[in-house]
């Protein structure tokens, strides 16, 4: 059977030599392009399933956390909001900053040390000052911050978007 097939094929090719091969190569190219298109489609389907952040399985879409009344926060102190993944710091001039508790080294949760006035990471001993700036490596950059919004005397923190920074400057502080 096989031999016969090959035989008829070669016969076919010799009979109409030029047009047949170009048609064949054209069809082959079409197959190739279709294959690539199919591959891209498959990739699109895959990426739909793998896309991070879209699968909100816990059901909460609210990223704005109401921290409390402005007047409730003492000057010059740091308040832990562990469920909201941040510390709310209030400085001596009354400004607020929401500092992420995720260490910039390998993502452990930093702890506020009231005696030393430092954020300390338990994993690799990185430490940060009250502005979240690195005192002790291996952490490579200051702790991220979250946008603070003050409306009608209430402090709200948007935990949806951590803000990366390379250094501390006063524009990161929000005033009432």
């Amino acid at each position: 059977m096989k031999e016969k097939n090959i035989h008829t094929n070669s016969k076919l090719e010799t009979r109409n030599s030029q047009p047949a091969t170009s048609r064949r190569s054209f069809l082959k190219r079409i197959w190739g392009i279709l294959g690539i298109v199919a591959g891209i489609e498959m990739l699109a389907v895959f990426s739909g399933f793998f896309a991070p952040g879209k699968r909100n399985l816990s059901g909460t879409t609210q990223t704005l956390v109401v921290a409390g009344n402005v007047a409730d926060f003492k000057l010059n102190s740091v308040f832990p909001f562990r469920s909201g993944k941040f510390y709310l710091a209030r400085f001596s001039d009354g400004g607020f900053m929401a500092i992420s508790l995720k260490c910039t080294h390998l993502g452990c949760s930093v702890l506020w040390n009231e005696d030393k006035k430092e954020f300390m990471c338990p994993c690799h001993a990185s430490s940060f000052d009250k502005n979240g700036v690195v005192i002790n490596p291996p952490a490579p950059r200051p702790l991220d911050t979250f946008p603070v919004i003050i409306e009608e005397g209430k402090v709200k923190v948007d935990i949806g978007k951590p803000v990366r920074r390379l250094a501390f400057d006063r524009s990161q502080i929000t005033y009432a």
């Binding site: 793998f50 699968r55 399985l57 390998l106 452990c108 338990p122 291996p138």
Partner: protein
């Protein structure tokens, strides 16, 4: 009529045993040719499949229910804890045995044509075994698993350009959460085992195509039937392994700490034990080098070796007697110098402070990396001048340095790092 049942038995055993040839070289089935490591790895895969299927009936892959389902397995299912223990200990054995198999194959030089492709398949399988263990690590959703996976996946973020994106894809978001758990569960119980089965079939077929395990030249060509000569040895090895795992599982429980709490990191928070060598390295060198450059050098070199140097003495341990001597020397050297380097760096040298004001990528990355590479270069030159070592022997020695170095770094990371990752004695952790 009496022949009928006998024939049936023979047929059935032939079907199961067709993984082996009918006869094997008598010298190729000596235990110290392979130490039975590949077969043990296969057995461990089967044990993991069986216990894993059982655990899947009770496990729920969601952050609210995962921990409770583990408690349910431990407390309410008859032998549930025992099955989980077997899965836990076999998982650890699997990583160790697969690693030893990899080391054995390299040292017996069974990596050149016609085994070259199989060497790469084997490396892929080793990596899949490690990822299988890693994805399983998260599933109990206790403090240990949550923080180990947080720390280990965060290492991805140090890969330039694509790292952050990869991290988000692996986690299914910014943090380890429900999407991460579902991802890991799906990989652990679906994608990884299926991929491994396909690769294993290819792996075993390639071994058969290469006419069995690598044997040195001048071996006796006396052959014996595989059944019972080889099969009996496999059976005994397998039974001993099963006995050890059962004994361990009866005596020691798989760890289960408190329910995962994203707000509190335990101190110290460590990656899974097989990544502790990398985490230890991270304390001394910039993450990009610890996590990307050095592993790339190692695995890249291992794949490059049989392609660049096409010929080798397959089946000859350490390539030659000199290779064996140099490997031993390299092992002792790494055994002494690795802890010495860690101690010196920790207490005296502080290499990261030598270039103040330079970017961290250079002062903590490139610079120590060049120091490391330079000392390896001097070592290679020394091997070449003093011992007139061949390329094969030098690579055997370098492989030994890497393997021994990684083992020592892992031991330091696992047992000698206490609170805040400070060096301490094992009994203080």
């Amino acid at each position: 009529m009496q022949d009928q049942p006998k024939l049936k038995i023979k047929k059935r055993s032939n079907f199961v045993l067709h993984i082996h040839p009918a006869t094997v070289l008598i010298d190729s089935i000596k235990f110290n040719r392979t130490f039975g490591l590949g077969g043990m790895a296969l057995l461990l895969f089967l044990i993991q499949s069986l216990t894993g299927i059982l655990l899947r009936f009770a496990y729920v892959p969601s952050p609210d229910k995962a921990y409770d389902s583990i408690l349910y397995i431990e407390n309410s299912i008859l032998f549930g804890g025992f099955v989980r223990n077997i899965h836990h200990w076999s998982g650890i054995f699997f990583v160790i045995i697969a690693f030893l198999h990899f080391v054995r194959v390299f040292y017996s030089q069974a990596i050149f044509v016609p085994r070259r492709v199989n060497w790469i398949i084997g490396i892929a399988l080793l990596i899949l075994v490690i990822f299988s263990n890693f994805t399983g690590y998260l599933l109990p959703w206790d403090q240990l698993s949550f923080w180990a996976v947080t720390v280990a996946t965060n290492m991805l973020s140090y890969i330039p350009f694509i790292g952050e994106g990869m991290l988000r894809i692996v986690r299914g978001g910014n943090d380890v959460g429900s999407a991460t758990l579902l991802n890991f569960y799906n990989f652990h119980t679906g994608i990884l085992p299926i991929t491994m089965i396909l690769l294993m079939i290819w792996h075993f077929w390639k071994v058969r195509k290469a006419k069995g395990v690598a044997v040195y030249e001048g071996i006796s060509d006396y052959r014996v039937p595989s059944y019972p000569n080889l099969v009996l040895k496999e059976l005994v090895t397998g039974l001993i392994l099963i006995a050890i795992i059962f004994l361990l599982s009866a005596l020691l429980n798989a760890p289960l700490q408190d329910r995962a709490n994203p707000a509190y990191s335990p101190n110290p928070a460590k990656a899974p034990w097989y990544f502790m060598g990398i985490q230890e390295l991270l304390l001394h060198i910039h993450p990009f080098f610890a996590f990307v450059v050095i592993p790339l050098f190692f695995f890249g070199g291992l794949i490059w070796f049989p392609f660049a140097i096409r010929e080798g003495r397959q089946g000859e341990w350490f390539h030659s007697e000199k290779g064996k001597k140099l490997a031993l020397q390299a092992a002792i050297l790494a055994l002494i110098l690795t802890p010495a380097a860690v101690l010196l760096e920790e207490y005296i040298l502080h290499i990261e402070d030598w270039l103040p004001g330079w970017p961290k990528g250079i002062s903590e990355g490139l610079f120590p990396f060049i120091l490391l590479g330079g000392s390896l270069g001097i070592y290679v030159f020394y091997l070449f001048r003093k011992f007139k070592a061949s390329v094969h022997e030098i690579i055997v020695a370098l492989f030994t340095v890497f393997i021994m170095g990684y083992i020592i770094l892992s031991i330091i990371g696992i047992w000698f790092r206490g609170e805040g990752m400070v060096l301490t004695q094992p009994w203080n952790i």
